[in-house]
Symmetry: C2
Subunit: 182 residues, 2 copies
DNA sequence: GTCTATAAATCGATAGAC
DNA sequence: GTCTATCGATTTATAGAC
């Protein structure tokens, strides 16, 4: 699913970088076209609206999350599933750094995630695994903390000059404190 | 300092809400004017550029943080200072919810915080208190986790229907795990 | 798949009246 | 402090040639 032509892949890649730097609302199709080195019309030939580009970007970022989610859900125990998922989320976020951060940070993207059913479903699965069993109102807070901490820390100025390996291990160590395992 | 006329206060209040909902880049001066019920020209009479509005909004949000920071820095011990500051940050974030969230989330606002000296100074003081003594690269990660967790959780969909009191106490409980006290 | 050219709307910003 | 009116630039988006 989501088979991209090379031209579409170029649009998505450029959009991802620009969204992270200027925000979705602050990124125009002209900026995307300039970054690729083509005209606006060429971009429109791939995606008919700006929303479609945002959608395609969201799908790419969420695809990695779904992969980690699938292997987590296949785990024998709930605690092991949570361990696998959080580890996968950290890996994804660290690898892409500011790229991944926009997913949970940009106000426009947050709206997208809430309004589009498929995205909501994925986020619900993520939350279910992180929360383990119970889902009382209070039990939902740790899931929000985990998601926020991962997405926020990887793009935080304080972690900018850390290597991927150092950031990953220290972030894992911190999140471990929130649960006991991770 | 930062004495606002009633008209300026209306602009800031409207901008704060719109920035949180649509992002700074996705908010036009026309939208702000419409929200207040005046024309664009009236808004321009208060602030000559969009950047000045962003600046004014940032100052309002940061003013509360500086107050919490001052009382934290007056604490007798570093660990007590951290406890006071994190508590203050939680209070601020919970009270304003999505309002406060934009400070550390919007890409445009992040740029502002990094480029304007006064804001950088405040953030450096916050980080110093949260990190306690040492400031090795790895020691900076917990500070980033704390800031991200607070700012992200209060606007996370999972915490949307929690009361302020419940959100505050559960968030405090989670952050306590990251340190030992809080 | 990419281009030129263009439409219609909106953008940030200004001038000047009240 | 707010208005009308306007500027020039930029926005999303389309038509049609290559």
């Amino acid at each position: 699913m989501t088979a991209h032509t090379p031209a579409q892949a170029r649009v998505i890649e450029a959009a991802l970088a620009l969204f992270a730097e200027h925000g979705i609302g602050g990124t125009s199709l002209q900026m995307i076209a300039d970054a690729i080195g083509v005209t606006k019309a060429a971009v429109y030939h791939q995606y008919n609206t700006k929303d479609e580009i945002v959608l395609a970007v969201a799908e790419v970022v969420l695809a990695g999350l779904e992969a980690a989610l699938a292997s987590a859900e296949a785990s024998p125990s709930p605690s092991r599933a949570r361990e696998v998922l959080i580890g996968g989320m950290i890996d994804l976020a660290v690898e892409r750094r500011r790229m991944a951060g926009i997913l949970q940070r940009d106000p426009v993207m947050l709206r997208f995630l809430e309004e589009h059913e498929p995205f909501r479903k994925v986020m619900e699965r993520v939350n279910r695994v992180v929360m383990g069993g119970a889902s009382t109102p209070r039990a939902r807070v740790p899931a929000a903390v985990v998601a926020s901490a991962i997405a926020g820390t990887v793009i935080h100025p304080l972690g900018r000059d850390l290597s991927d390996a150092a950031l990953r291990s220290e972030l894992t160590r911190q999140l471990r404190k929130l649960f006991g395992s991770v």
